[in-house]
């Protein structure tokens, strides 16, 4: 009997297997439970393929999307169109990573109470302004491109429209359209596209020169329309003649900047591009933007010069460049942009955004000097009368894209005003000159944006 009794210990092996397995599962439950609940198809959270975690509003509380049943979008067509790339469509062509990211907070899920307190979901409040979005959509007209503004003190993304777009409540025949109206319609150009920057990239070179070249302020440049490198040359459309540094930027003189790039050298320029992070992706609220490009490996001297002018192989992402503008406006340190300001589930607040300030990318003095020069651009070139109430600092760009298309028009900058800490970025494809195309768009939008901020 003793022998048999002692052999009964073998049952322990099974007991250990069972308890071990259950313990392993409980561990998994606490680690992965939130993922399980939020996975597409999760019965209490999803309506078919779409998240059903509640409603999304703009910064003022205007309803943008109710995810229950078959998704109800905003009441006006313009607002629906302007918000499409942030809220997604019904069929999964356009995703809404920010909503998926906060689905857990909207549902009020936690591993103790599960989804018990979930009743149709919570509310996610975006930082975007419905009013500003529709105004931006209108200002973009028929153009493709993107226009964005953010508060460089708090990081709130106030406006970010991507065109072309469509009304999710009245989906056009996108597949059958052949005139190019809906080319790239599923892409959020603000976050997912890259553009050849053109002259707005001169801001990077300018900042590098301010940091690196001690005598840059006393230098003068003579533009003859060409700055030659043997058989090749950097050219300007106009002959600018004698220029100081301020005017070189304001007139966007390629020859002057070629000379500056020469002085800096390829290595140094590359170092500053890296330091200012202008080609890095930005991540916020589950969105990771496209990264840019700056590559001068094996590049000839003229190619390096064009790289410093925003051509050659340069590519920038709108959101990243907007953040860079924010850094300059904010004295050398950017407040990272974000989209979701707060999430509530039931009566409890489950998420509230906090401003995150990135690391310093340039000395404050350099940032101040760049601000002054950018304001000078407006005075000298774009016309202060376009922005009657505030001090705007900016730089336009006209990026040649080749082929039969017109140039892409760019305009980037910010408002130097404590009451209106707005950085902006405008990119319009296949349009022409940055100054001609983008400045009117901005002058139309800035008053709306200020109005929105005034109302709060």
């Amino acid at each position: 009997m003793n022998r048999i009794a002692s052999r009964s210990i073998a049952v322990w092996i099974l007991v250990a297997l069972l308890l071990g397995g259950v313990a392993f599962f409980v561990g998994e439950y606490f680690v992965k439970g939130d993922t399980w609940v939020m996975t597409q198809g999760s019965p209490h959270i999803y309506n078919g393929t779409n998240l059903g975690t509640g409603v999304v509003t703009d910064r003022g509380g205007t309803l943008l999307l109710d995810t229950s049943d078959h998704r109800t979008y905003a009441t006006t067509k313009e607002l629906r169109k302007s918000m499409l790339h942030w809220l997604g469509d019904r069929h999964g062509y356009i995703s809404a990573p920010a909503l998926a990211t906060y689905a857990e907070e909207m549902a009020g899920y936690n591993s103790v109470t599960g989804l018990y307190s979930y009743s149709g979901g919570g509310t996610a409040r975006l930082t975007l302004s419905a009013k500003l979005q529709t105004a931006a959509l209108k200002a973009m007209g028929e153009y493709k491109g993107t226009v964005a503004m953010y508060n460089y003190k708090t990081g709130e993304l106030l406006c970010a429209v991507s065109t072309p777009t469509y009304d999710p409540d009245n989906v056009p025949d996108i597949e059958g359209n052949e005139d190019g109206t809906y080319e790239g319609v599923y892409v959020n150009r603000f976050t997912q596209s890259v553009y050849i920057p053109g002259s707005i990239f001169k801001l990077v070179t300018t900042a590098a020169a301010l940091e690196e070249l001690d005598d840059i302020r006393s230098q003068t440049f003579t533009c003859t329309g060409t700055y030659s490198y043997g058989r090749e040359a950097v050219t300007c459309e106009l002959v600018h003649g004698e220029l100081d540094f301020d005017s070189a930027l304001a007139q966007s003189c390629n020859c002057a900047f070629a000379s500056i790039v020469d002085q800096l050298g390829a290595k140094t320029l590359e170092k500053y591009v890296k330091k200012y992070a202008v080609t890095e992706p930005v991540s916020f609220d589950g969105v990771t933007t496209a990264g840019g490009n700056f590559s001068i490996t094996d590049a000839s001297a003229v190619q390096v010069a064009w790289s410093g002018i925003g051509q050659h192989k340069d590519q920038i992402n709108p959101c990243r460049f907007l953040t860079f503008m924010g850094a300059v406006a904010n004295g050398g340190r950017a407040v990272e942009p974000y989209l979701v300001s707060k999430v509530t589930a039931g009566t409890s607040e489950t998420y509230r955004a906090k401003a995150t300030t990135g690391k310093r990318i340039m000395p404050e003095a350099v940032a101040r000097e760049l601000q002054r020069m950018m304001h000078n651009n407006v005075i000298e070139k774009y016309g202060e009368e376009n922005f009657p109430e505030v001090t705007v600092c900016g730089k336009s760009g006209t990026a040649q894209v080749g082929g039969e298309k017109k140039s892409n028009a760019m305009f980037a900058g910010f408002v130097a005003d404590e009451a209106y800490p707005i950085a902006f970025f405008v990119a319009v494809e296949d349009a022409g000159y940055g100054r001609q195309i983008c400045v009117p768009i901005l002058s139309e939008l800035l008053p709306v944006c200020m109005e929105v901020l005034d109302a709060e």
Binding site: R3, L14, L18, V26, H44, G114
Partner: protein, 572 residues
Amino acid sequence: MSDFIQTLTGAQETFVNVYLAVMRFAAPILALILLWRCCKPLLTFRREPEIWAWLCLSNGDKLPITHWENTIGRHKRCDILIDFPTVSRNHAVLTRYDDGSWSITDTHSKDGVTVNGKKVRICALNEGDVISIGGVEMQLQPITHRQEVRLSQLRTRSSGMENVTNLLLLSIFQALTCIGFLMGGNLENATPILFGFGGIMLIQWLLLIFCFIIRRPAFEVETVAFFLCTMGMAAIATVKPGETVKQLVAMVMGIAVFLTVGWSMRDLERAKKMRYVAAVLGIALLGVTLVFGREYYGAKNWLVIGPLSIQPSELSKVCFVYVGASTMDRLLNKRNLISFIAYTLGVCGCLALMNDFGTALIFFCAFLMIAYLRSGSVGTIGLAVTALGFAGVIAVKIAPHALRRFASWRHIWEDPFGAGFQQTRALMCIASGGLFGMGIGKGWLKNVFAADSDIVFATLAEEWGLIMAVLPVLLIVVLALFAMRCSSVSRSSFYTIGACTASTVLLVQTIFNVLGTVDVLPLTGVTFPFVSNGGSSMICAWGLLAFIKAADTRQNASFAVRLGRKGGGGDE
């Protein structure tokens, strides 16, 4: 007026919500109190060795005999160790019977056993007989009647009143659950739900009364089983409310099997005879399925008789445990072992033809446990060979078909709408339920296939919370630990082998059911004992419980142990 009705409806809604909200916490608290009260005596009862006789050696040494079945020999794990060169390693077995008489059996020793000078193979012993084992002489001195009475009084008693209180608590739990279901808006199914929970309540009280009548008031093991059945009923009530009565009928049949198996084991001589009946029945059930069975999902394991569909392989599990158990004197007998191996091969053949992977796996684990418990020096090799053969059959015959199901193991999220559908939904719903559940009847998983059987764990977790879902698992563990605790003071190896093998089957089924649901193991479609919806499975679980109950040696506890004789509380 309409305002008034509206207010009333509103008030009712609020009340229902409050009730269900309170139940989320009340249920686990009540269950924990109840189960703590049940499990504590099972896991902590005293296990002091009982002395049934003394063996007086010629040199004046007196060796205590602490079991009903005792091996005598030179082997250091023998119950009575006589370290003398002429004594075989396993020389003989000394057995006590229900009536207090003793016998000695020679277990193929080299020098044999003599009683009063006569060489014997098996011989009844009287007081004063001189036994010689390998030349060592000794006399058996059984304890006196008065000592026996004293002994039985020392044994832990199971308190009858405690068990009544436990059952009252369980009844409260069942009533609250039932009300929860009715209030949750399940009114169209009110009748079957009332029948389901009311039926369990009625059956458990009837069984308790019966146990009191036969003066075996220990009811912890049964209370645990009834709790498990209640949780199973809760799953059925939400998934297939129409089947509550069917499950109830299965429960009654299960309890009948439980009592029958228990009764058959009360007298070991009877049990030995019943073993043959069980053997024939076990293989016959499989045979009938093979001939008349119907194939579902690739396995031919269903027998459809009119409106009834049963899985006979479930019932043959109980028979297999019965056949595998054996008393010590036979355990060391080669013939007994060989016939068991032959029997196993027969069962194995039937299972191979039936293509039922889950059942084959459970039989295999049960076989391994029996083999391990039985195999001393004699049978290890034969058993190992059989094991190998069994494994071979599974690998060659059944696995290719089953492997397709295993392809998605640990990869369920890669195919959430195909092979991984059941398990991904199960995990989503478990997580949705949190620790305290979405509320009775508020689950979604009922829409998924086999929500009340194969993935019942997830159904419980979704509606009752993870705590209440893990509780049944722990209860199966408690039953197994209880069986193990009993084995050290067990009267006969028959009970120990029976209880340990029954626990093995319960544990293995729970392992494959629960861990299969949550993708820790592949999903095999094995049922959760007592909990899963399925009549055959329910009957099998109760049948197995009889073996665990029989191992209970506490005074007045088990129907398998006769009460103390004459004056020791009176014979029944």
